[in-house]
Amino acid sequence: MADGKRRKVGRSEGGSTTPGGPSNRPLVQPSHDFRVVGKALRKVDATAKVLGVTKFADDLSLPRMLYCKLLRSPHPHARIVRIDAARALTLPGVKAVLTGKDLPIPFGILPVSQDEHALALDKARFVGDPVAGVAAVSEEVATAALDLIAVEYEPLRPIRDHLDAVEHPEPRIHDYGDHGNLHKLINLEFGDVEAGFAEAELVREDLLFFEGNTHLPMEQHAAVAEWSPDGKLTLWSSTQTPHYVHRALAKVLELPPARVRVIATTNGGAFGGKSDPFSHEIVVAKLAMLTGRPVKITLTREEVFYCHRGRHPTLMWVKTGVKKDGAITAMHFKSLLDGGGYGSYGVASTYYTGALQTVTHHVPRYKFQGARAFTNKPPCGPKRGHGTPQPRFALEVHFDKIAEQLGIDPADFRLKHLVPPHSLTANWLRIGSMGLAECIRKVVAGSGWKERYRKLPYGQGVGLACSSYITGAGLPIYWNAMPHSGVQLKCDRGGGVTVFCGSTEIGQGSDSVLAIIVAEVLGLDPFDIAVVAADTDLTPVDLGSYSSRVTLMTGNAAIQAAERARDLIARHAAPKLEAPVERITFVGGRVFDAASPERGISFAEAVQLAEAAAGTVGTVGSYTPAAGAGKYRGAGVGPSPAYSYSACVALVDVDPATGIVRVPKIWIAHDVGRSINAAAVMGQIEGSIYMGLGEALMEEMAYRGNRNVVHKIPSLLEYKSPTTLEMCDVITYVVEDPDPNGPFGAKECGQGPLLPVPPAVANAVYDAVGVRIDEVPITPEKVFKALRRKEKGEEPRFGPLGFPDLPWPEPTRVAPPWEGGDGRAGEGGRGREKAVGVTAGRRR
């Protein structure tokens, strides 16, 4: 959601389902009304998964299938002088070899960053960048063929990291971008922060760093392509975004979209790592077209590290002014992201590092400067929490330090000056329900915070942090005025209901959400509902499983489709039941008169009545979020139909002799609005804690800067992620503060609960041994060094020491709502940014 997406969407507040729908339903119903929603249910696809029956992309095998391998660049930054595949083609069993010139059309997930080629065209930008693709009768032959492809490279100086990129505008990795090797520079100011700092009684500055890490899904990416002699292409792929892959395939292969079918196979985990269109997907498609045979690729674990799109390493500087009671007067936040070799979602990621600082505690004046660097490493992108765990880490550690300086208990500090529900923030985000206070109270009480904080023996500590996350991005990736999610419903005369939706099951339970919601509305058993998802030929578009959007958006679309079906069926059942339509009720597979429930028929009979009277029973539903309140350039990132909230307390044990940190227990409270499936909500929260713990303690995308910028540890063994033994006990409190925009009030829970974990652990380490680790992962080496410094009387801290000067553009000045602005740049503020806003709207 790069700039350029900001358009006025002529829709009512609070999002809309398509016009003409029924629904005078109360927006939020009390939970005791629900029969299925909110129960703890098995996921509808769980048994097959647990028994190993589910077919993943790599399980697919088609007659005459060929196998693909990609040749990858051994150079981090090099011009490709010449590629000669002649020898590879002579190897028996090799059927085709592709190079960059066979697929010259660029692509990329964001319209503003169409900077990738399926195979490097003239330049390789990281070790692992795909350069050639082979199709052969076996993987072994394809692998052998790679060694026979001669590539002549002219190495260029590699850019190792974000600081190297700042110092070396040349050689440029891409010939586009805001400045040298700085891909994107953002400067936004909401109100006069300097005036805000002047009003403060304490102003504090901190520098923090969040190391990059990767998604580590269990399933490696795999794809199979088939080209039918009838001129149609089918791609099965482990992707979270079949719709965007569909668009990229049509573009790069120059095929009419109608001839391309993308089927997202069940993902064995994704976490954001399967939400870009990838080189390997396009290459197998092209190879299938060339050879007329199905072609499959399954990436190695190492190659998954090269696909990456994970957490951006982010250097951050934050300055906040507060009153003695903790009220914030102004905040200034700077971030510098190490983006890797391509754009990916990076422009959006960069905006996200500055977007959600304002949604937990009231920030009356706010300034954000963000930059993303191109570097010669695998591209970064969206990982669970997309761009927000880094600033949340910075902010919550910073708040912990401020609270200490003010002599306020950090839990009390966080309970004060919360953003009110149903309000606007300084950067014009529209907050709906806001259950953070309840979350804080729950974890404070549950963890015995008051008895533990600053009172535990040396080596043990507790730390607290809060957070918030979006429930779906307010804008699509590419500008369009159409719904973000669509659902079709078919009711069979046998009583079966099939729900068709483009949403993608990545283990998060989206198929279950569809089944539960439809079952709730039609009074059926969710395990009887057939879900057909993520197939561009069969299902209406859903934008994809990212930004925690699916439950809210497909959920609302499913409610609309199901309510339309219910109304249609009720209309034709009513005469038979001799009851007014309003009294026709759907429960337990029956349709009956609410006034005399014994007068009823089965759901199947009711469908038959409707089908006899009105023809095939099918309905549709869709959902489009409301337009955001902000109208400035960059306002597209941050708005969401609803914000989830979390609070977390971590208990840590720090061994002062080694610096080793263990986390025995975490208490987390999460405001999910409303649980659709209570078991899945708990699972998502616990899974988020697990992932957050890995980021807090050990996960790290390490590169050897001095050895060709190779990834140091691209394996499941050496890329350290916690095992079950490192996983802590988790006490979860589900807070339900229903949001008017959510389906039955539901908000997200798949990403938000990760955010408070790293800062809670960092704050707890300080409580335990009195050293500040202003950097994640919090490894034993860092704690050990900080403890040494403390012993020597030096600053008891480990963290970054400076933030470089960057060529920021003139700020876009937007007055906050309480200073009389209208969400636009310039007016009401002191800016003159209108021109920029207008041109931005026209880019691509």
């Binding site: 993987e139 072994e140 674990r301 190492e302 002799a657 540890i713 394996s715 079950t724 080496e781 050990f784």
Partner: protein, 324 residues
């Protein structure tokens, strides 16, 4: 997927047959036991045998007679044997600390003692190694860890080897020239490439443990996670005591050199005294000095060196406590 290359797989039933098969295959043949080290290495093209000779169907190698252990006993069996847990807790414990339960079900004692040395410039795929222009241990000419060094510094990463050396186990080897028995300490070379004194065609048949007659030993392992990870530091400490006084001691470190590194200075600091705080501190300091970790495993090397002191101290304190 990362695939195994094609190879011929043989399963001899006797030692003689195994030796004959190896003789036939020549340098292109290799023995395999559980395969948990060899097969991943073959996927990465570290070892490229055309013929793989499994030792798992040879009954002698599965034998357990008194304190003599056949080398094809799995690590799970070794760590679960009640006699071992009682008489050789350090051996059972070290075996139990190897990797994960799944790998211990496959991995054997012999494979563990012959484990290839490790280095994170080397334990990488062929394509990765190509990107750094390979290294001396396989396909290249230079050592990236110590570029001016004429030798390879890949790390001995077995958990059981330091214990075997510390307690003074002996190894029975059978080769085309017949049998020989050598002390565990003489089985290893401090060289990342030629890390074993064993000839490629020799089979490690049996490990002979010393009778449990009044000595005690412990093993402590440092690694990032509680499962899965190789040791970045292993401390095997062995003492013989008479009436509270230490009459003999051996401290052997794993994960810091290309062989299990014996630290005689640390042992000397313990000899002829009680296991008092001062002696323990002196031994820990003595172990710290020669430990020379390099930047080729998990964790920062200076921290790993610091940890030698902490871990040796903890190991000796446990020994003291066990007797006390």
């Amino acid at each position: 997927m990362l695939r195994l290359p094609s190879f011929k797989y043989l399963q001899p039933k006797t030692l003689k047959e195994a030796l004959a098969m190896k003789a036939d295959a020549g340098p292109d043949g290799m023995y395999v036991a559980g395969g948990t080290d060899l097969y991943p290495n073959m996927k990465r093209r570290h070892q490229e045998p055309r013929t793989v000779i499994s030792l798992m169907a040879i009954p002698e190698l599965k034998r357990l007679e008194g304190w003599n252990v056949g080398t094809c006993v799995t690590l799970t069996e070794l760590s679960n044997l009640p006699t071992f847990q009682h008489s050789y807790p350090a051996v059972a414990h070290a075996a139990a600390l190897v990797s994960t339960p799944l790998l211990r079900n496959m991995g054997t004692l012999g494979g563990n003692l012959c484990l290839d040395t490790r280095c994170n410039y080397y334990d990488q795929t062929y394509e990765w190694r190509k990107a750094i222009d390979f290294c001396m241990k396989k396909d290249g000419h230079i050592c990236w860890v110590a570029p001016s060094s004429p030798r390879c510094w890949a790390v001995s990463s077995s958990d059981v080897a330091p214990v075997a050396v510390a307690i003074g186990a002996e190894f029975l080897l059978v080769g085309p020239q017949g049998e020989r028995v050598i002390p565990a300490g003489r089985f290893y070379h401090n060289d990342g490439i030629n890390y074993l004194t064993k000839q490629p065609d020799e089979i490690l048949v049996e490990v002979r443990l010393p009778a449990p007659d009044g000595w005690d030993a412990v093993y402590h392992k440092l690694r990032r996670r509680g499962s899965f990870d190789f040791p970045v530091l292993g401390v095997a400490a062995w003492v013989r005591r008479e009436g509270g006084r230490v009459t003999d001691a051996r401290i052997v470190l794993g994960g810091v050199a290309s062989w299990p590194q014996e630290i005689p200075e640390a042992a000397a600091a313990l000899r002829d005294g009680e296991l008092g705080d001062d002696a323990i501190a002196a031994a820990a300091a003595a172990a710290y000095r020669p430990a020379k970790p390099l930047d080729n495993t998990d964790f920062d090397l200076s921290w790993r060196k610091q940890m030698t002191r902490v871990y040796v101290k903890a190991a000796l304190e446990e020994l003291r406590q066990r007797r006390g």
